[in-house]
Symmetry: C2
Subunit: 419 residues, 2 copies
């Protein structure tokens, strides 16, 4: 169905929409027997419906023209659904194993119909809170990041392809602007939307607003976020944007996608794993002290970066004679030089990753949008203790990121945060 104008759907009107849309009828069966519709949007922005019939299933996501978790007082273009669909298709093409298929997109309705990730798929963040190990997580996420980031960069594409795609995604400006505000600005100033575990963290929040060195670093990261079109990034790759089972890992919700710095995606994932690590003490019980689970999280952090680095440089080596215009083979024409160039590239990317990861951690503790990892710790004193340690580490990471040579050193530094 080609809708003529936007209207927000509910459970009932969604069924009418399905009935009028051949592609969806194909998926669900013409007669729509035993149809169930469940609204499950627990994210900050959108409405999400799981639709199951006797013969098929689909997830339908609709963007409304405001930020759901704030309300109509915070308008936000529903055109974000267009960029989400575009990114899902592009990243899905590059890494179909870890991105759900898009069945149908309706730009006027800001509506995406995509593959339903059936149980036991759950949001990774919930799995981390429950203390569940995902033995393939590092392998899968590093694969997704390596493939999507490498293949949308100038290491793989010509300038012509790159600039055209950069121009298109400049259209997702409002979502970039939201990130600029909530990640790089609000936590460092007084803002009506900021909140933290008060009164415990009052001093911590104030210290961030008074930290000149931190503000100098975050300015550099913000500039890179605003100016550097390095690759088509997901733009919001935290542990709430990934659905998992023990053998499946699916990346969803790329509505913040645009051409930005690769380190923003890698940092989002690693930073949220570090938050999950520091939250574990709040979830420990007599039955489960979470010590082994904390070790698994740290191993996953190490593995993710190391596997990513390996996969990314392998893609680079495999495509060095391709269309990528950044490092022409006629110039970078000896093994010593190739190694030198890759080492510098990966080293810079590592430091960007740590900086962005730290920024993502800070904003989840003293900014507008918090994470369930901490929010689910009922005792505010205990929660504040976990958050405080995470915040201390994030500040060390952002200020000292250029001093870290490898991910092992980062994990060692996590261990050194005072109890």
């Amino acid at each position: 169905m080609a809708s003529s104008e936007f209207r927000p759907l509910d459970e009932k009107s969604l069924i009418e929409y399905i009935k009028a849309t051949p592609r969806l009828l194909d998926l669900l069966g013409e007669k729509l027997e035993a149809l169930t519709v469940e609204e499950v949007g627990d994210g900050n922005l959108n409405f999400v419906y799981i639709v199951v019939s006797a013969t098929g299933s689909v997830v339908i996501k609709q963007a409304l023209p405001y930020v759901r978790c704030i309300g109509e007082s915070w308008p936000m273009t529903k055109e974000r659904a267009y960029f989400e669909a575009l990114a899902l298709k592009e990243h899905g093409h590059l890494c179909p194993e870890h991105v759900p298929e898009v069945y149908h997109f309706d730009r006027i309705m800001s509506l995406i119909a995509m593959r339903y990730l059936k149980p036991p798929h759950i949001i990774l963040r919930k799995g981390l809170i429950a203390g569940i190990e995902y033995p393939l997580l590092a392998e899968h996420v590093s694969e997704y990041m390596a493939k999507t980031l490498f293949s949308t960069s100038l290491l793989y594409n010509s300038t012509a392809v790159h600039k055209k795609a950069v121009a298109e995604f400049c259209g997702n400006m409002e979502l970039c602007r939201l990130t600029e505000q909530v990640v790089f600005s609000d936590p460092y100033k007084v803002s009506q939307y900021n909140r933290w575990t008060s009164p415990y963290l009052d001093h911590d929040a104030e210290a961030i607003r008074a930290d000149n060195t931190l503000k100098l670093e975050v300015a550099e990261l913000k500039s890179m976020f605003c100016e550097r079109a390095q690759a088509l990034i997901h733009g919001d790759l935290h542990t709430g944007s990934i659905m998992v089972t023990t053998d499946s890992t699916q990346v969803i919700d790329p509505e913040f996608a645009f051409y930005g710095p690769m380190g923003f995606d890698i940092g989002a994932f690693l930073g949220n794993l570090i938050l999950a690590f520091f939250a574990q003490d709040g979830h420990a019980s007599e039955a489960n002290d979470r010590k082994l689970y904390k070790q698994w999280i740290l191993r996953t952090i190490e593995d993710t970066w190391n596997l990513f680095e390996n996969k990314f440089t392998t893609l680079w080596n495999d495509n060095k004679d391709g269309n990528g215009e950044a490092y022409l083979m006629d110039i970078y024409n000896n093994p010593e030089l190739q190694q030198l160039v890759q080492k510098k590239y990966m080293n810079d990317l590592f430091h960007d990753t740590l900086g962005f990861g730290a920024a993502k951690m800070i904003r989840r503790i003293v900014g507008v949008a918090h994470v369930v990892d901490f929010e689910s710790i009922a005792d505010p004193g205990k929660r504040a203790y976990c958050e405080h340690r995470a915040l201390e580490f994030a500040k060390i990471l952002m200020k000292g990121r250029r001093g870290f040579q490898n991910i092992n050193q980062v994990v060692s530094a996590i261990h050194e945060i005072p109890v």
Copy 2:
């Protein structure tokens, strides 16, 4: 006149075009008395006509779909005229004192009609070869660069304005690609278009193609050129893109304009002044040893950067409560922090400038397009001597740029190049 399709003009058909174009008739007088048309395009790309009538004058520039200095074998989109007109208008709006007015633009004909810069205006490069001092040059060029670069950056504009303009100028991809090739790639590899003063500089050219450290540095600069949308840059701000008298300075030919790194413009200008400096020994005669003139060039290099830095930070201070979203006043809210932030920004920009300046010098000695500063030195041995010293300095500058604290140190390093 709205042309329906593109056709290359010559002196004769240009007059027909003028007769059919009301805006041009306004400028030149209805009767076109005593009309003279002179083709003066001595640049590498376009055809340029000076049209003078009894009552008015105009310069008419037409882009043809290939690179003029190479011929039809090197195709080049004539859409570049659209971006040139756009940049002339935008930069002209920001700095009318140093940018000629656009009277008329015909996109189909790739034709720009603009103010004729009357004699004694000459191309700055020719003035530098002739040994003419321009006492206001540093003042004027620094003013032009500070106003155009500051006012098209995120220091002045919102993300919304910035991303929209970035997207538009992504369309000038072919010209960006030409720069990528001739500045950042060809000089570092064997290329059919490369040339140098042979056999004198055979070893120099070979040494560049074998210099791993230099190639590592130029890769970083190329990435910045391709990925970083910092401001609307001119894109080709060498001394051949500036017309001067002793009291007027006019910047022309921004057909390479796009959102790129500011240092590329500043570096182009300073790098070409350094080339002019090293060429002076080839122009010295018994009547004029050029010693005082060389001192003037070095002073102009120093003054340009220092004045630029001053004007740029003044604009920043004057607009710190404006729409610019890079450094919000609520965050950068104390004088110490503001100073820290500006110092870091200007220091980074200085190092970018030196890197790009060095790249522009190197490409003019061993790449496809040379400069008359050297080409006009008839004795090839003497020319090669001048070029060799310039090349040695450019390599030092590119590799050691982060070690320079200020422009005086750069000038001192110029003095230290062995005779």
